[in-house]
């Protein structure tokens, strides 16, 4: 690696950052710059993927400072998968955003031009933060990147400019800041105990009260950021009230950052005890059930989708807890698969929900079938995404759930299987509400103009949702990528 040509790891963080600055400075060219930056980042990730496939884990010290104190970037299979996913979703959502912010009309919040101008810098900033989180190898860097994500995410959440969005965004911001501060405090404790900040330093550290407290703080902070029940209070409103592309990014990516850090912490371990893990599972169960019940009661489509995010996050925690502490070295795969599945599907679903809302003019579930226009493709995308989220074969969501239940069953933890089943049933129940609404029954005798419901903007949700279903067939290769560089040690 030469000094002239920066390595792809650094590029994956810097390209979106520079893109964000450029897009901010040149608002008129923002979409072009934004898409260009995303594509360039994707290219860098592709190069990175090539390297990881060849070499396994790659470490890059930044600015000559290496571990244990300095900033070091690391890329392995897990990071690569997340990077690829993020690039994919960013591309999809970005394309969707082109259409979503195309108009000039004001819908009750910010003028479109303003939204368009701000979306791209925020999106790219978010991308910077996400890629940073994936590639960071030390706690402090993770904290910083988390904050970058938080700020960008809040910006995205309030982009629509409506009162509801601003309120939800503010609540989100408080939760996010609080979580970050807890993380910060936790990081400090870790440093206090071990004198190091790199993740590898955690592995060798002897068990102590301070370290446990540090883990506790970090876990609570991350739980707040990933909206683990009962710390999910901020999520539904924030995600439901943002504009569709923002919701997609928030739901698909932002919450995953916290989960990713959790995975990394678990990988670095020693994880603080079986009880904590079980607690995570129990809280996950709570999320699955509560999220499901709330989604059943939701009156608006986007709120339903947001509550489904709460439930799905819970499921990922259940996946981590499925086989206890010993099983963690395998459980992370199930969690990672679920993360990927949820990200792709939820991005597609939020974009689709946004399209449906745009076309029909509202997203009240009880009146979905009363429009004169039928957004057929968006509904198809929604349905496909729902298939993956429910976990019906052959979707990626199904593979994730299968892995979850397989591991739980092998470990004899039938209760986690039962939780998964219950979650699946609930998800069927609440998605059916929406899907039934899509099958219009002519309660409105308006002439049906089918073609008005179609647009190029339907392509990104359809593609994303289609991928969510189709990627299940590629579960083998995806698992192979995850295992590159053997995170969590050797493959069992």
């Amino acid at each position: 690696m030469t000094d002239v040509m920066p390595d792809p790891l650094t590029l994956a963080i810097l390209l979106p950052l520079f893109g964000a600055i450029a897009a901010f400075l040149l608002p008129r060219a923002a979409p072009a710059i934004g898409l260009g930056a995303v594509v360039a980042t994707a290219a860098a990730i592709a190069v990175l993927g090539h390297l990881v496939v060849q070499a396994g884990t790659i470490f890059v010290p930044l600015g000559g400072w290496g571990a244990p104190l300095g900033i070091e970037l690391r890329a392995d299979g897990l990071a690569l998968a997340m990077l690829g996913l993020t690039a994919l979703i960013a591309l999809g959502v970005g394309l969707g955003a082109l259409a979503a912010f195309a108009g000039e009309t004001e819908v009750g919040g910010q003028p479109m031009a303003r939204q368009r101008a701000f979306f791209w810098p925020l999106c790219l900033l978010l991308l910077t933060g996400m890629n940073g989180v994936y590639l960071s190898n030390d706690l402090f860097n993770l904290y910083v990147m988390l904050e970058v994500i938080s700020l960008a995410a809040v910006g995205l959440a309030v982009l629509g400019g409506t009162v509801a969005a601003l309120r939800a965004g503010l609540a989100y911001m408080y939760a996010s800041l609080l979580g970050a501060l807890m993380m910060l405090l936790g990081v400090g404790f870790v440093y206090l105990q071990t004198g190091r900040l790199d993740l590898a330093g955690l592995a060798g550290a002897p068990d102590s009260a301070a370290l446990s407290a540090a883990f506790g703080l970090m876990l609570v902070g991350l739980a707040l950021k990933t909206a683990l029940f009962p710390l999910h209070f901020w999520l539904p409103e924030a995600h439901a009230n943002a504009t569709a592309p923002a919701s997609a990014l928030l739901s698909a990516l932002v919450v995953k950052a916290g989960l990713y850090i959790l995975l990394r912490l678990a990988e670095a371990g020693p994880f603080p005890g079986e009880a904590i893990l079980t607690l995570m599972g129990v809280l996950g169960t709570g999320a699955v059930l509560w999220g499901g019940v709330q989604a059943l009661r939701a009156e608006r489509l986007k709120l339903l989708v947001a509550w489904s995010t709460v439930a799905q996050m819970g499921l990922i925690f259940v996946a981590l807890a499925r086989a206890g502490l010993e099983g963690l070295s395998d459980s992370w795969r199930a969690a990672a698969l679920l993360i990927l599945a949820h990200a792709v599907a939820k991005a597609g679903m939020f974009l689709a929900a946004g399209r449906i809302k745009d076309v029909i003019g509202h997203d009240r579930i009880s009146e979905l079938d009363r429009s004169a226009v039928r957004p057929a493709l968006a509904q198809l995308a929604f349905a496909l995404a729902a298939i993956s989220l429910i976990g019906l074969p052959p979707s990626l969501g199904f593979i994730g759930k299968w892995s979850l239940m397989e591991g739980a069953m092998m470990a004899g933890n039938w209760h986690w299987v039962a939780v998964t089943m219950a979650g699946t049933l609930l998800s069927v129940a609440y998605f059916t509400r929406a899907l039934t609404g899509f099958l219009r029954f002519d309660r409105v005798r308006a002439p049906l103009d089918e073609h008005r419901g179609w647009a190029l903007a339907d392509a990104p949700p359809v593609v994303l949702a289609g991928l969510a279903v189709g990627l299940g067939l590629a579960a083998g290769p995806i698992l192979a990528v995850l295992d590159l560089g053997t995170p969590f040690g050797a493959i069992p």
Binding site: V163, L178, G188, Y191
Partner: protein, 99 residues
């Protein structure tokens, strides 16, 4: 019996401040008050870290926690700014709709 060193006292005080801030964030209803409580949290966290950086007097304090704290302050300042901007906009929107 652990001797209450200066660092420990600072640390405990910092935790106390953090706790107070936490109570504020979770308990307060007013937006501004919650924001300030958050800042209090940040200050508490900073105190803990600085206390952690403090070694016995002859040694030079560890610079890493300082770096953490500084970053934290920067983040907090910018976040506070954003939050304030949001609160203002929200306020104006709400008064608009109230009228």
């Amino acid at each position: 019996m652990i001797a209450l060193s200066q660092a420990t006292i600072y640390g405990l005080a910092g935790l106390a401040v953090f706790g107070l801030g936490l109570m504020g964030v979770l308990g307060a209803a007013e937006r501004l008050r919650r924001l300030i409580a958050l800042n209090l949290c940040a200050a508490g966290a900073g105190m803990v870290l600085i206390a952690a950086a403090w070694r016995s007097p002859p040694a030079v304090p560890d610079p890493v926690p300082h770096a953490l704290v500084i970053t934290g302050i920067v983040v907090m300042v910018s976040a506070t700014a954003v939050a304030l901007a949001l609160i203002r906009r929200l306020h104006s929107l709400e008064t608009d709709t109230d009228d």
